[in-house]
Symmetry: C2
Subunit: 587 residues, 2 copies
Amino acid sequence: MIRRHREPFTVWAPNAERVELVLGDSSAEMTRGTDGWWVPASDVVASDSDYGYRIDGAGPFPDPRSRRQPNGVHELSRTFDPTEYRWNDSAWSGRQLGGAVIYEMHIGTFTPEGTFDSALAKLDHLVDLGIDFVEVLPVNAFNGTHNWGYDGVLWYAVSESYGGPAGYQRFVDACHAAGLGVIQDVVYNHLGPSGNYLPNFGPYLTDGPGNTWGSSINLDGEHSDTVREYILENVLMWLDDYHVDGLRLDAVHALVDSRATHLLEEMATRVAALSAAVRRPLSLIAESDLNDPTLITPREANGYGLDGQWSDDFHHAVHVALTRETTGYYADFEPLSALAKVLTRGFFHDGTFSSFRGRTHGRAIDTQRMPSWRLVVANQNHDQIGNRATGDRLGATLDPGQLAIAATLTLASGFTPMLFMGEEWGAKTPWQFFTSHPEPELGKATAEGRIAEFERMGWDPNVVPDPQELSTFENSKLDWNELESVDSARLLDWYKELTALRRARPDLVDPRFGATGVEVDEDERWLVLRRGSVAVVINFDEEEHTIPARVGGELLSFASDGDAVRGRHDSAITLAPHAVLIAEFLA
Amino acid sequence: MIRRHREPFTVWAPNAERVELVLGDSSAEMTRGTDGWWVPASDVVASDSDYGYRIDGAGPFPDPRSRRQPNGVHELSRTFDPTEYRWNDSAWSGRQLGGAVIYEMHIGTFTPEGTFDSALAKLDHLVDLGIDFVEVLPVNAFNGTHNWGYDGVLWYAVSESYGGPAGYQRFVDACHAAGLGVIQDVVYNHLGPSGNYLPNFGPYLTDGPGNTWGSSINLDGEHSDTVREYILENVLMWLDDYHVDGLRLDAVHALVDSRATHLLEEMATRVAALSAAVRRPLSLIAESDLNDPTLITPREANGYGLDGQWSDDFHHAVHVALTRETTGYYADFEPLSALAKVLTRGFFHDGTFSSFRGRTHGRAIDTQRMPSWRLVVANQNHDQIGNRATGDRLGATLDPGQLAIAATLTLASGFTPMLFMGEEWGAKTPWQFFTSHPEPELGKATAEGRIAEFERMGWDPNVVPDPQELSTFENSKLDWNELESVDSARLLDWYKELTALRRARPDLVDPRFGATGVEVDEDERWLVLRRGSVAVVINFDEEEHTIPARVGGELLSFASDGDAVRGRHDSAITLAPHAVLIAEFLA
């Protein structure tokens, strides 16, 4: 069947000898049923009491399928019936990924209040901006009061600090009312460092080597049928119980799965089945470090059948072209030809040597057939900002013209653009790594580890913010008052003009790789991007340049200072420093 | 670029030596431009006058891209600016094919008045019925006042008898307001027998052997680039200018195309690009007699990338199981195992011998990977009814229980169900072949040919309606007063219960072939269909039978007379004659 609904107060504990249901002050024996599932030995009287499970005398532990953790991830669970909410989105027939613009947001820092309800007041801003989907950083239950979300330990629970599951339903419903789809960021490759009681219940994790963030999930060992089902049911829960329109799958390269049918393919098949049943598009988007087109290749072509995947190569190419940073994984992206390759072929590393990895990396996309929108691209995102030593955005170092160039490349490239909250006005606030682990030792280890990591990279440890300090979280909140500045308003207008131009000029959204042509000059540092009938001319340089491009009527232009176009010639155009011109393309 | 918009008063006539624009009473010389396109030699003053082209002194002929033919297909064209209409569907984000229910309608016979505007009054009926898409028989300009639509000769014009292009825009807009998508039936494989002036303009047709309906279209000969573009621009016109959500492509097996990229693949690519630009799903559905999965295989797997295709095998299997007709192409479908194969594998002829064709036919679907909704199925459609000698529907010969069985198989099979207008209440009105050729000789030939064809098949020529008689058209109109009868109301309720059950029980819509299991008994003539957690038990026979099926609680049931379930046993259920039971499936 498409989706399995579990009875309340049933729990999987295949190796336990005794399981007790703890419900408020009482506890009840449970009986082992089939396949390691336990059910209450006698009828349980429903109540508002919190509950948990005692396994072989230890615990009680929260329910692995807990919907609410009102007192934190270490405490008892609370039931939540998602069917009680009266949805108002019956007219919502979903939104497809192809052609969409995504807006990545972290609920805790998007508004001063940091809740689902407070976020709703800003939906008009997003609609005016031309957004199609909000993509929400993980909202599952995590340790402490604030967190990026990737320390989640109870994948079925919605964080109480954001408003809990009821608040989340209101949020999605209101997004749909505003014409916005919701993509939820979910993590299935690791569990947070505190509050993970899954191993007390069963073999959810592997004994083998883990990944960067902890133990790997048991996807192909003994008992992994039920572990996979734990993930798949969670996927369907978001899409069905919360009317979510798509999921962003965190770091899928860390899903170790040797089975003939990879978990991601199984997920795509199940989600496609649900999509038909609910009659709306449901999208799966992978964050992947593999540069492997298999993920987004249809199942009929022996791919996994996901709808999209992030392409960090785009970020790196744009970032380097603008900032000229060439450390670490930026090294290979130094020439503008790297950006040209990304724009015309999707992946830069498509079987080429990656100096950062010390090996060849990636595989070429079938640009004759795959639509370019399957790659989700950003000039900034939570990771690329937050994993910098000080969490500084592009706006901290680039001038308005350069920010306008970044926006243009993202929104006119034919890929699926994703904006990071605040970039639309060049937010000056940093977005830093923050945690709120209540355990002093874990907090200390997290902070020291973070600071030491950047010290090794040559940073003054005193400039690296302490993730455990409340101020690090508070500083990362958007300051909506910035919108009153002239530069912010000007950049925001530019973003709006770009999203409006996408709708007025379909060629800007054309997903055929063949519709894109690029020319660059490495010395003068300009780039001419052709998108069907539209030409995008960019001067990355600090000097004005005369660029051999035959363009017709101007559609839009932006320069840091003064006019972008300094002169028009027969078959060339002179652009100001850090300027961009969008115009009719003349063949 | 995605879509090319042609300037008004430009026309392609690559072999002409002189082209004149006739505009009202005046005419103006035209100049040969590039690639065989002609433009007015001097500025043309826009006016409301009708226009046409004189080619090498002959004519004037209507514009091949005419939007309106107010005086019929032989007369001058009239301009129509599709951008003037103020659409009210900005909140419409489209509707995907997967999971949808389609309703096939012919505008001229759907209502007594036979217009777009009169059809709108019935949209509530369709919404209540649980419809997602209306699929409209061709509305392009055809010869005469009424026609099925397949005699179209001006593919860019909307028939004036239905309300013309402005009426069509109102129709689509109103459908969207009601939450209904629109699929438009379009014909690119032949032109009607009268009013086709394309050969006067250029090599639109091939000289070689034609198909059943006339000359083949020049898709791969000299000058075929422009002919293909004529088709592709028409495809984009419907989807873009008229906000249509999908196209049904008539008889694609008659598109003769030897090119490396088949026209259908090119169409799919262009439509996918437009879909991203307009940010809504756009579906292409082929009518195909090929049983070739290539059509609906994604391009990444070297298919054509269409969204769906009709599966006549489903119709034949259901029709034979109910009527026991086994003449002509029904012969191979005699045993119930044919229906079982269709339900579990999509095509019956998937590399098997077709006795009707005298050769093996078809190729197997990859049931591990292809979603079953790509097959569009019907227990009746315009062709399967209208191409019978007397145009009789199933309702003319079957009893209510049998009609309920037909509905159940269509709506619970996992394929995309398509209903033919009126079947939802078991309409008794026939749907006959009708034409209104004004030319006496053509009318006579059409009528005599039709009647002779059935005479050869053993029919009394006096019972075959004359297609040219007005009464044949009038008799084919739905009689909405039939809804007042008890049997009609009961069947309509059954259809509504089935579409409601699809929404309540997602497993009924599960598009994974693996979610379907079938058992049949050829002697007792029953069938048990498992769809995930739901069991569908059908008794085709005229006797009651005890069927070895373990089923739980009843969800729905229907019998011609009395209770469907005559008895329940340990692992079996006794069903009345011509009865169906839908119940929980017990493993």
